[in-house]
């Protein structure tokens, strides 16, 4: 067939849809850097700046030029990966963020995997055994999960597992100082340590990771479980399931091959919203556990009014979120049994 397959077309279309969103994100992030009350150059030059260095910042950032031209300069800088200099570390913001990004990603992705691994089976069980204790447990967890402030859950977990039970390590970063950092390959300590075959360090890193990841997972668990339950209930009560049952398919096959695969679609869609919450909550969790990721970097920068660092962080998070949403939607086209159905 000369025309591209419907699946490929859907993928290309979705990628194209991300472009205006990225443009919008860049515009907002530009506006945020220019919305500072008074003279932005004064803010970006820092508290210690004198007139000369303020003037220098003004020229360097192009603040003496008209707004459209400033935007062009800003976009040009972004394309070259230049997010400005951090006042606190003295390094380019982009370098700082790149150094710290793996820590945040390791934490967030572990938490999300953990949340999905618990929430999806829980939602399925709650839907198939609706009205039993699993269902009630699911409801309690969901309601409590959305009411719990992440930073408070984190502190409670530290109190119970570090102070009372003494089984968790001190909440001070990614690795206890008695371990040597694994060689930098991916920046994910768990993967790097496994690659080196250093299981001692791997265990050390996993121990540090489990509490913050658990905190974040508790928070993201609720929406996933709720959505899985609702989607499974809808799928199980639909006509094609009745037909499949009437055709004499086994209960397991009906549940997993038919109902679950269809129920996954709305769940994957909610994951986008869940990511938004998780990336925000990530900042709070990193602060609680002194996790050296980009969230705690932004919090430190906020305290000392390091604007370039904060805006770089906001932009990086937004781009990361757009990317994650894109991946989710592509996953959606991959698992949607209906796409490409006509072509077959």
């Amino acid at each position: 067939m000369p025309a591209p397959s419907p699946r490929l077309r859907a993928v290309l279309l979705r990628c194209a849809q991300a472009i205006p969103v990225v443009i919008g994100v860049v515009v907002i992030s530009f506006l945020l850097t220019r919305a500072l009350p008074g003279d932005p150059a004064v803010y970006f030059a820092g508290i210690m700046a004198d007139d000369a260095s303020i003037e220098e910042t003004r020229v360097a950032m192009g603040l003496d030029k008209p707004l459209p031209q400033q935007f062009a300069i800003y976009v040009g800088d972004l394309l070259r990966g230049d997010l400005g200099m951090s006042l606190t570390s003295g390094r380019p913001v982009a370098t700082d963020l790149a150094n710290r990004l793996p820590a945040s990603l390791e934490l967030t992705l572990t938490a999300l995997l953990l949340a999905c691994a618990i929430a999806i089976p829980m939602g399925v069980m709650a839907a198939t055994r609706s009205g039993t204790w699993v269902d009630h447990l699911c409801r309690v967890v969901v309601t409590a999960g959305v009411s719990l402030p992440t930073f408070f859950t984190g502190i409670l977990l530290i109190f119970v597992f570090y102070y009372l039970l003494g089984i968790a390590p001190a909440p001070l970063g990614r690795l206890d100082f008695i371990y040597i950092e694994p060689d930098h390959v991916t920046g994910f300590y768990l993967i790097d340590a496994a690659l080196m075959g250093d299981w001692e360090t791997w265990r050390g890193a996993a121990k540090q990771l489990i509490l913050p990841a658990g905190t974040l997972a508790l928070f993201t668990l609720a929406p996933v479980a709720r959505m899985t339950r609702a989607a499974m209930l809808t799928a199980l009560s639909s006509d094609f399931i009745r037909t499949a049952r009437a055709a004499g398919l086994s209960g397991r096959k009906v549940l997993y091959a038919y109902a679950f695969r269809n129920a996954l679609l709305p769940v994957v869609t909610t994951l986008g919203m869940v990511f938004s919450f998780a990336l925000g909550a990530n900042v709070l969790v990193e602060k609680v556990f002194a996790w050296p990721g980009i969230g705690s970097y932004a919090v430190e920068a906020l305290v000392v009014s390091d604007y370039a660092a904060v805006q770089g962080f906001v932009l990086a998070m937004a781009l990361l979120f757009v990317l994650l949403n894109l991946v989710i939607d592509l996953l959606y086209t991959a698992i949607d049994p209906r796409i490409g159905f006509d072509a077959r």
Binding site: P20, V21, G24, V25, V27, I28, S29, L32, T33, A35, L36, P37, T143, A144, V146, S147, L148, P149, T150, F151, F152, I155, L156, I158, F159, Y162, Y163, A170, P171, F275, S276, F277, L279, G280, A281, V283, L284, K287, V288, A298, V299, L302, V303, Y307, V310, Q311, F313, V314, M317, A318, F321, V322, N325
Partner: protein, 290 residues
């Protein structure tokens, strides 16, 4: 809360409310807790046993006792008094933010839904762009850009909540734009604005009230989160987020009451609004009852 009336059917509204509340004790609990929170916010500062800012070096870091129900903090302030007094500030921030996003979101959503066309397209693009940010991170960025004050916390929370209202109103207005009653109102000589404001928009209020209630809980979490990382409210002002942040330094040495009580109170408030939202949904739309 906003002063919009409770969304009840016109005739037997009160009877229906009583029926639902009797049927659903959880919703009754939610209303009771809500009344309690309002009580704390309004009368809290005048009924607490101690001045929330009064330090007492001789009584620092005391565990909970009859004298100090929630213990005392590192400089001897009564944690119970601080937690209760903080209710007013936390509730005002979130109510102000939600009210602001309610009004702005309603106006934008109603305009886009009623007139459609390029206005609608532009608004949708803008909302998509706001939603393209992780919302808490966007709030951080806005507060960092506008300046670190309580008002800016309110603006930031309002901006990140606004898309939900605008989308809801847009959808509700859009489906009624060409409804019979709207056309009749238009034919009898009402202006577009009047039809929109007095005939179509009120239909969007019931789902909006549910959204407001669910949103309030989220707004409280958001504001407390921002002050937890040091934005907005400054110490020594009593506020839940900041109290948890200060208490966090003492949790590793076992002084749990500093962080746990404000955290629990925060949880209670969020929990109340979430329950209230679910309850209101049952009253407004019995079909969606889960």
């Amino acid at each position: 809360m906003t002063d919009a009336p409770l969304p009840t059917p016109r005739n037997s509204g009160w009877a229906h409310l009583v029926y639902v509340l009797r049927d659903n004790p959880v919703t009754l609990l939610a209303f009771t807790l809500f009344a309690f929170l309002i009580f704390c916010a309004v009368l809290g500062p005048s009924v607490v046993p101690y001045d929330p800012l009064q330090t007492n070096a001789a009584k620092s870091l005391q565990p909970p006792s009859w004298e100090h129900w929630f213990g005392t903090d590192q400089i001897g302030r009564d944690v119970f008094s601080r937690v209760i007094v903080a209710t007013r500030l936390d509730l005002s921030i979130s109510v102000a933010a939600v009210a602001l996003s309610f009004v702005v979101g309603s106006v934008l959503g109603a305009i886009a839904g009623y007139w459609g066309g390029w206005l609608d397209a532009v608004l949708n693009r803008c909302l998509d762009t706001i939603m393209a940010f992780p919302l808490f991170v966007l709030a951080m960025g806005i507060v960092a850009a506008l300046g670190n004050t309580i008002e800016n916390i309110i603006y930031a929370t309002a901006i990140i909540n606004m898309p939900f209202y605008a989308r809801l109103v847009r959808a509700e207005v859009n489906i009624r734009r060409d409804a019979g009653f709207a056309r009749a109102a238009k034919l009898s000589g009402n202006s577009d604005l009047r039809v929109l404001a007095c005939h179509i928009f009120p239909n969007a209020l019931p789902p909006m009230m549910v959204q407001v209630s669910l949103n309030l809980g989220w707004a409280i979490l958001n504001a407390a989160g921002l002050s937890f990382i040091g934005l907005g409210v400054r110490p020594p002002t009593p506020e839940w987020g900041i109290m948890v942040a200060e208490g966090a330094n003492f949790i590793v040495s076992g002084e749990w009451w500093l962080a746990v009580f404000p955290g629990l109170w925060l949880m209670l408030a969020v929990f109340t609004f979430n329950l209230l939202g679910d309850g209101l949904r049952d009253i407004v739309d019995p079909r969606k009852r889960s």
